[in-house]
């Protein structure tokens, strides 16, 4: 036997390929896969949520602290009663599920917003009420929130959030690397946000129907959008913390265009006289003015 010494072979056990190329392919592939999966699950949750009987949503909501709380003073309770009356009038045109019992809450806080959530709860903040000049504009907000309840958007969002959370936790634990998991979960959240905008459009559409049926015109929607334009940070999606309304309901051009389109499609007037605000709500404006 002849004993030889040869240098180790190069390029057999490892490759010279630039690792950035591999990274690019893997990132594109994995983000694409997560987006697709999150998208499919979102669609499934959105489809499924309104089909789950409302009583299960109500049962779940009963386990959470209530959002639509009653104010602890007479003025606040008067505002709540007026909001409730407007909600009941609009709800009559909205074909809400029979077993849904509306709960309208009012909070004496400066936040400029209103929201609808699990268990058919709608909550208005004083900050928003003092910005609105007519009952019509207030009714547009109310009808929009009631439409979220009608379409069960809160339970759709909950179902979607839970399903996507489960997917991402599976994906990221599979990766065995928290860093990769974080990037993927951020991608999943972006999908969640884009879906909420579709729901906002659906809610606007149902709200316009109810507004037209109750008031005979949709001037309230125009008024509301005009008010939103004057808010600090109007037309932009980011704004001060007090003006949550613009963050959760971005006033995009497509939203304004959709209202104009709806008006012309349905022959709805926008310039009829507005109804004045009910007294207790109107009083909030005069208190905050000076």
């Amino acid at each position: 036997m002849k004993l030889e010494n040869r240098l180790p072979a190069e390029g057999i056990n490892s490759s010279d390929e630039n690792p950035l190329k591999e990274l690019a392919w893997l990132v594109v592939g994995s983000l694409g896969a997560v987006f697709l999966l999150a998208f499919a699950v979102s669609l499934a949750a959105q489809w499924l949520a309104p089909r789950i009987p409302y009583k299960y949503e109500a049962r779940l909501a009963a386990t959470l602290p209530p959002f639509a709380t009653t104010p602890n003073n007479d003025a606040g309770r008067a505002v709540q009663a007026e909001l409730r009356a407007i909600a009941d009038r609009l709800a009559a045109h909205m074909d809400l599920p029979d077993e849904m019992v509306l709960r309208v809450g009012y909070r004496d806080e400066a936040t400029v917003n209103a929201f609808a959530t699990l268990g058919s709860q709608v909550v208005f903040f004083r900050g928003l009420l003092t910005k609105l000049e007519s009952e019509d504009a207030l009714a547009m907000v109310m009808a929009h929130e009631l439409a979220h309840l009608k379409y069960r958007h809160a339970s759709a969002a909950l179902g979607r959030g839970v399903a996507i959370g489960v997917i991402l936790s599976v994906v990221s634990s599979d990766l065995g690397s928290s860093a990769a998991g974080n990037v993927l979960s951020t991608a999943g959240l972006a999908t969640l946000l884009s879906f909420n905008r579709d729901q906002e459009r659906a809610a606007d559409d149902a709200a316009l129907h109810a507004l037209h049926a109750e008031y005979g015109h949709i001037g309230g929607a125009i008024d509301l959008f005009n008010v939103m334009k004057t808010l600090p940070g109007g037309q932009r999606e980011s704004s001060s913390a007090a003006v949550e309304l613009l963050r959760t309901h971005p006033l995009t051009n497509s939203r304004v265009d959709a209202v104009a389109q709806w008006a012309s499609d349905n022959g709805a007037a926008t310039d009829r006289p507005r109804r004045p605000l009910p007294p207790a709500i109107a009083a909030l404006r005069s208190v905050s003015k000076p």
């Binding site: 036997m1 002849k2 004993l3 030889e4 010494n5 240098l7 180790p8 056990n13 490892s14 490759s15 390929e17 690792p19 950035l20 591999e22 990274l23 893997l26 990132v27 592939g29 994995s30 896969a33 994906v171 599979d174 990766l175 065995g176 690397s177 928290s178 860093a179 990769a180 974080n182 990037v183 951020t186």
Partner: protein, 163 residues
Amino acid sequence: MLDLIELGLFITLLVVGFFAGSIVEKRHYASIRKREREYADVLAYAVRFPPDRVTPQRAFLVHGTVVISSDYFKTFVAGLRNLFGGRVRTYETLMERARREAMLRLKHHARSQGAKLVICVRFETTTISTGWAASIEVFAFGTALIPDHNTALSFPSRSVAAA
């Protein structure tokens, strides 16, 4: 905001991992190739028994061990690779460097003991840590032989050729 900071931190770690890792790897390979030539006179084989005509005067265990760590970039790419399967190229260079380094240390050990022939060379690998900073240990060991001077043995290396 917090998400942005997290993302920025992550990208910084990835970039640092990539550049630092590339420089370290390039230097390590250069050092390995240089020392492989320097240790060309120490022969190492996987055979279990001494080659023909080698009459060992002395035999003893020699070993070389190295602990080597992945970088953030390599671990991240490997983590994504786990989703799809296939060659984990970023770890292949890591393992190759570790094996060649362990072999060099084994040869260094053998030469320091006066041996120029090692047989029955084996490798062991241990994972020291997993997660975002994976480290591995590679351990090479073998039996060093110091042959009888009278034995006619055809060594190709410099030292023998000079003798």
